[in-house]
Symmetry: C2
Subunit: 222 residues, 2 copies
């Protein structure tokens, strides 16, 4: 690249909790509990999307929520208003969750009593993607105001997900988010990832996402 010097500053190997994650995933499979690890930037609408999802899920699906946060419990309070069991996880300043933390949350929630547990991860596009939580599936939310270039900037996150919710499409006219361009960029990292453009605010597009998630939850038990 002409005129710009590039320095490789530092590399750190993020050592694994891989075995613990695999153990947790195995236990979840045996118990028929689908753990959805939901990641995003701060302010992309994780909590609102979870609310809309909970409202539309079939009543027969027993669902619980793990809310991860640095230190607060505002999101857990919000979700609890729907009468859904919620456990708040405090990371104590850490920017990610790992399989041990997810396991402790599930234990507190009462592992085994749920068909679906949604883990709202910490608002972060970097650290969260680097640690396997033991989840059955990784999904993320990108919101329209963040821009369609994010796969270029945070490739490990977009490579780690099976589904991407594109939130805040109701505000699309005010931002230069090109959905086709986004899909192309995502496809280079996660060719099979499903994409769900929706507005958690207005409810537009939420149902296809809920249907798809429900099918994945059902398939997990087979």
């Amino acid at each position: 690249m002409e005129g710009i010097r590039v320095i490789e500053v530092k590399k750190r190997v993020f050592e694994g909790n891989e075995r613990r994650a695999a153990d947790l995933r195995g236990a979840l499979r045996r118990q028929g509990t689908f753990l959805l690890n939901l990641m995003s930037s701060p302010g992309s609408g994780k909590t609102t999307t979870i609310m809309r999802t909970l409202e539309r899920l079939d009543r027969g699906i027993r669902v619980g929520v793990l809310e991860a946060d640095l230190d607060s419990d505002v999101d857990a309070r919000t979700v609890a208003t729907l009468g859904v069991p919620v456990v708040q996880l405090h990371s104590g300043g850490m920017c990610h969750l790992d399989a041990e933390m997810a396991g402790r949350g599930l234990e507190a929630l009462g592992m085994g009593g749920f068909d679906l547990v949604i883990l709202e991860n910490i608002g972060n596009l970097i650290c969260t993607a680097q640690f396997d939580t033991g989840a059955s599936m990784n999904a993320m939310i990108i919101s329209v105001p963040e821009g369609d270039d994010k796969p270029l900037k945070y490739p490990p996150m977009f490579a780690a997900v099976d589904a991407v919710v594109v939130n805040k499409v109701d505000a699309a006219e005010h931002f230069d988010f090109d959905l086709d361009r986004f899909r192309e960029r995502l496809a280079t990292l996660s060719p099979k990832a499903a994409v769900f453009p929706l507005s958690a605010k207005t409810g537009e597009g939420v149902q296809p996402w809920v249907d798809w998630l429900s099918a994945r939850v059902a398939a997990w038990k087979r």
Copy 2:
């Protein structure tokens, strides 16, 4: 909090590069170079805000830019179109910069030849606030679509800054961002932080931010 169990998952002491940061800050002061550490979530508009800032800065201010990214150089390419010296820092997957990385970037840029160096930190509201880069000042961008509740969720970030740019005010009518509520929440963490509502897209509100920054740069030399 009734009905929600809270678990303190883990605490990690983020050990310091405090001495290195203090050394770097001292060297910058002696050379009359003001280092602005600019932080935000992914997609808040750091690069666009830097572009608008560079365009409006007095020509007499010798300015350089350090662009930090996981692995890409899209932002550095954008900034370089203005003819401003840019160095791209690759964190190799790390979610923050520290004083050593900042120092290496300044060295590559040619420390001493600049009145102002803007460090565009990695898009992250957690890790970046935990490491002193040696900067003369910390500032952050929060964008209207992210919501006014972010100080509740990411208190260490909002406690670490001297200035907050509230970006994307041109889209304010589509989001429930209450500027007064935001100011109140910020004030509990950073009572003296200056707030600059602006739109890097339209240019609205950019000048007061540039004037304020310019005054800080001038004061640094005294």
